[in-house]
Symmetry: C2
Subunit: 277 residues, 2 copies
Amino acid sequence: MSRTLFTLFDRKQLAPMQHAPSGPPGPTPSAGTGPRGTTPRERARGAMIDDVITVARRQLGEVGAAGLSVRSVTRELGISPSAVYRYFASRDHILTALLVEGYSRLGAAVTDADDALPPDRVTTRWHRVWHSTRDWAVANPHEYALLYGTPVIGYAAPPETVEPATRVVVRLAEILFHAARRGLLTERLDLSDPAPTAGLRADAEALMATIRELGVAVPDDLDPADPLRVVNAWSELFGAISFELFGHYVRSITRHAEHLDTLAAASARQVGLPEQD
Amino acid sequence: MSRTLFTLFDRKQLAPMQHAPSGPPGPTPSAGTGPRGTTPRERARGAMIDDVITVARRQLGEVGAAGLSVRSVTRELGISPSAVYRYFASRDHILTALLVEGYSRLGAAVTDADDALPPDRVTTRWHRVWHSTRDWAVANPHEYALLYGTPVIGYAAPPETVEPATRVVVRLAEILFHAARRGLLTERLDLSDPAPTAGLRADAEALMATIRELGVAVPDDLDPADPLRVVNAWSELFGAISFELFGHYVRSITRHAEHLDTLAAASARQVGLPEQD
DNA sequence: TCCATTCTGTGAACAGTGTTCTCTGTTGCG
DNA sequence: CGCAACAGAGAACACTGTTCACAGAATGGA
């Protein structure tokens, strides 16, 4: 019960591929919404996969992940329940696809909102990331719950989820790094001394390496605690949104947008962003 | 889709009481683990309710809320599946009981840990609340997920959940108020200016009234932003724990205890607790 | 003590679920 | 054209939560 909490089901292979039992497990052309295949069959297959996901996402928005029924999806699509198993190995694989899509949609909403601002207005950008994240969550509560609520996927989150899942925090890091590069940062309120322990500094370094791998330009003279500050802002943001959506603010906070504003301002100050820009 | 998100099912009456169809809906003596009734029947009924909850909680710890099956519970108890409906109107009512019990158990773990410390060691107490909360969550991940993950209960959280659910944040407030009363607070790092908006100040006042109703002694000269600071610490704490348990720290934080320590220290500084005590 | 009332538990049944398997066409490629 | 790969249908299995009619037991008042 230590590492793999929430492992309800064992992992499975992804695609059924009935009459192609073993073969080289190479590139499975069945799943994913990747480059639409050229042959008519591959195009039809891709279209079917898209249809399933589209309908499933609509129903997810209405009944939530727990209430999502593959039979209901197939009814709406006018196909038999078993047909969907040509495209998804299980209900969990459909949910996984929705998970990946959800992370992408949230990430797109946030980066689009941020991209509409001048890059140097770092504090405004910081606030906009916070608010656009919340706006998306409020507009898509069930989808948000799928991403940041109780994990419902048995097997460990598949690799294709990790990149989309990091988009919001990476954008926060980008804003901070951009501000550092432009010399816009003020003195940080030193909430984080005593300095991070050796272990945490190691975490921060590994995190920086990951961020670099994602193609983000990292300043050389970065405060080693800055990645941790970004991560803390990130979890603070999602902690507040989850509390709002999951009902834990019921007897306390009612002005959620204003409240998030003060949180964003405080975290901006903690990472050293200027008051105004 | 605005107020009652996640309302999957309609609300229902709580107790079945088959042959007592209407009658005065007065005090329903069936549910709850309240004062064990004196008559043999009431005692047997209470024991049965306790047995169901005990077994359900054990299975919850193994398979999680989504995997909890009333048939499986009845199998383990050696009764027929329909028998449990004499005691709980639905599966959701069992989960509600587990919810209330979970809040109580978490609250007890935290307050017990805090009570073992001298009251004036406010900073140490603050840290202990943070860590004992996390310790309980790590030890009871599925139960934690039931409390703070995606809501699974259809109807709005019943009234009996709100008091137990507030115990951790109320304890945080008590520590801060105690420190204020003893003159132990330092200058706050003023992260929260500009001062809270009128709306948020109204939220803070209502929150104070609620806290007073719970019997907590509130100093008269309290900084009006202090309740908001406590709430922010609260959501920061649970945001970090949820991120850890739900797997969002996978590629960043690995030293979770150390990380929570820095978060607790920073939040202690934000609310004005002394460095050492 | 007897009896009607109330409660408790059972077993069958219903509607629904995810998933598998067998079978029948259809499609595409060599 | 013919054969292999695929796509879909439909029945079936093993579950699930819940309801209902029924039988037995405890209870409390006459």
